[in-house]
């Protein structure tokens, strides 16, 4: 039976350090299984947030060997076992204890985005008709499990700590899901530019790279929103064209 060495961050807001643990690895194990082994046998007081163990709840987000990942979806056989595996909490959010961070900032951000506002019903019975191809486009965004790995890897939040000015990729996806929805008539373009700070995104695609749901965050959500901002604020020709177009 193979064994693996882990360097796990232990500590709280007052400070902490990496501590070494070794545990046996069996076929099919994921990092969260190993963390649970260590918690059960060597570190009963280790804080780790988890829930579904199936990559659907987004609770067990952490940084494994420096990359934001879900612990429950990172198989041990994909990691180099000849050197210690580092597991640490997400860097873009305040630490609570060990591997658990306070992600409540994200919930506050969500409340600041204009809500879904449907057009008047299409039918007298108060229902709407939506073509499948129209809803297909936003369906991808609804796969998001709010693990906040994209927020963690985004350098605007992670390195520059611009949490007050930039909502991050997760909420640009959320805004895209609303803004591109075939029923929605709310206008969020000005907010995207001014309050939500979409201009901070410099399209490094790190958010797309770490998304466990493989949402094409940059190409399908952020860039289309940036283009809508360009339409409104940076394209005088389009503005001129719109002013002559029939409403």
């Amino acid at each position: 039976m193979a064994s693996a060495t882990f360097k796990i961050w232990r500590g709280d807001r007052a400070g902490g350090e990496f501590k070494d643990y070794s545990t046996e690895i069996t076929e099919g194990m994921v990092v969260l299984d190993a963390i649970h082994n260590i918690q059960a046998t060597q570190a009963n007081d280790m804080a780790v947030r988890w829930n579904c163990k199936a990559g659907k709840c987004g609770s067990c987000s952490a940084e494994i060997n420096g990359m934001p990942k879900l612990m429950c979806m990172t198989r041990m056989n994909t990691l180099p076992l000849e050197q210690p595996i580092t597991v640490q909490p997400m860097k873009a959010f305040p630490l609570i204890k060990d591997l658990v961070t306070d992600v409540s900032w994200n919930m506050n951000v969500k409340t600041g985005i204009k809500k879904f506002k449907p057009r008047a019903p299409d039918a007298p019975d108060g229902t709407w008709r939506i073509a499948q191809e129209d809803v297909d486009r936003v369906q991808e965004f609804r796969k998001c499990i709010e693990c906040f790995l994209c927020q963690d890897v985004c350098h605007v939040l992670r390195d520059h700590h611009l949490h007050q000015e930039f909502i991050g990729p997760r909420f640009l996806v959320y805004a895209a899901a609303l803004e591109m929805h075939p029923l929605d008539v709310e206008d969020r373009v000005e907010d995207l530019r001014k309050q939500h700070g979409i201009g901070y995104c410099n399209i490094t695609k790190c958010c797309t790279k770490v998304c466990p749901e493989s949402i094409t965050i940059t190409d399908n959500a952020i860039i289309p929103l940036k283009e809508r901002v360009v339409d409104r604020f940076f394209d005088p020709l389009a503005k001129l064209f719109r002013s002559f177009s029939p409403k």
Binding site: Q88, V109, G112, G199, T204, C206, R228, V230, D231
Partner: protein, 260 residues
């Protein structure tokens, strides 16, 4: 928006717990883009060996002026124009601007040239960050205007590929014809997969089902857009190679083999 009651730790430049070769991709991007920049600048300053038979280097197309006036859009180079200004300098700003403001290249060169960030989850050298919301990077928003010019260039380069099939003794196909044809195709794949074009042809609307022509165009552009990076690199390398091919043939170093 709310903030935190505790300060977050700021990483140092290059600081990361990543154990993979995270520096390889930005390094290759840097070498690739820097190599192209050096070569294209050198080629633009040459001012000669950019035609061979029916072939015209894409870096010098369209030929606005030339010394004899033959085949140039506006005839002979005017006397007031400084001698160091070549035909390439009059045209390269347009496709160059299209690439510099391209969404793919922006992400790539912010990492490779500015280390902003050097790679995902790797510490940055600077503390201040303005992004694309203020000068100078706010200028990137003019990308769609360069797109309009780039679309014209596809037509011009396709015409060059057509002209490359007509030799002194009539229709023919040489290796150079295929080189210029591939150049037009690769540039077409890159330009027609542009994010701005995707938005303009259909992305702007939330209900495309009511606009079947736009829906088809949107699907086609989206299809090319999925491989935008590959098209970007292939077309970049091929433009440089096409210029090199014409240059080498013109200098008599390479022989242009006739296939037909």
């Amino acid at each position: 928006m709310s903030s935190f009651d505790v300060p977050l730790e700021r990483g140092k430049f290059g600081q990361t717990a990543r154990k993979d070769f995270w520096w390889v991709q930005p390094l290759f991007t840097f070498l690739g883009l820097a190599g192209f920049l050096v070569y294209s600048t050198w080629a633009a300053f040459q001012g000669d060996h950019y035609t061979f038979g029916p072939y015209l280097s894409p870096m010098y197309s369209p030929e606005i002026f030339n010394l004899t006036g033959e085949g140039a859009w506006l005839g002979r180079t005017p006397e007031w124009m400084p001698l160091w200004v070549t035909g390439a300098m009059l045209v390269l700003w347009a496709p160059g601007g299209f690439r510099i403001t391209c969404y793919y290249y922006r992400g790539a060169y912010y990492k490779a040239f500015w280390a902003d960030p050097p790679s995902c989850a790797v510490g940055e050298p600077r503390k201040k960050y303005l992004g694309e919301r203020s000068f100078p990077l706010i200028v990137q928003n003019i990308h769609r205007y360069f797109l309009y010019l780039a679309l014209v260039f596809i037509v011009l380069l396709a015409h060059d590929a057509w002209k490359a099939m007509w030799f002194e003794n009539g229709f023919g196909i040489g290796v150079g014809t295929l080189v210029l044809l591939a150049n037009a195709i690769l540039l077409g794949g890159y330009t027609l997969g542009c994010h701005s074009l995707r938005h303009l042809v259909g992305g702007i609307y939330d209900r495309l089902s009511r606009r079947p022509v736009r829906k088809t165009a949107y699907d086609c552009v989206s299809c090319l857009n999925r491989s935008h990076m590959v098209w970007a690199w292939c077309s970049l390398i091929w433009v440089a190679f096409s210029d090199l091919y014409v240059r080498m043939c013109s200098m008599g170093i390479w022989t242009d083999w006739r296939i037909l």
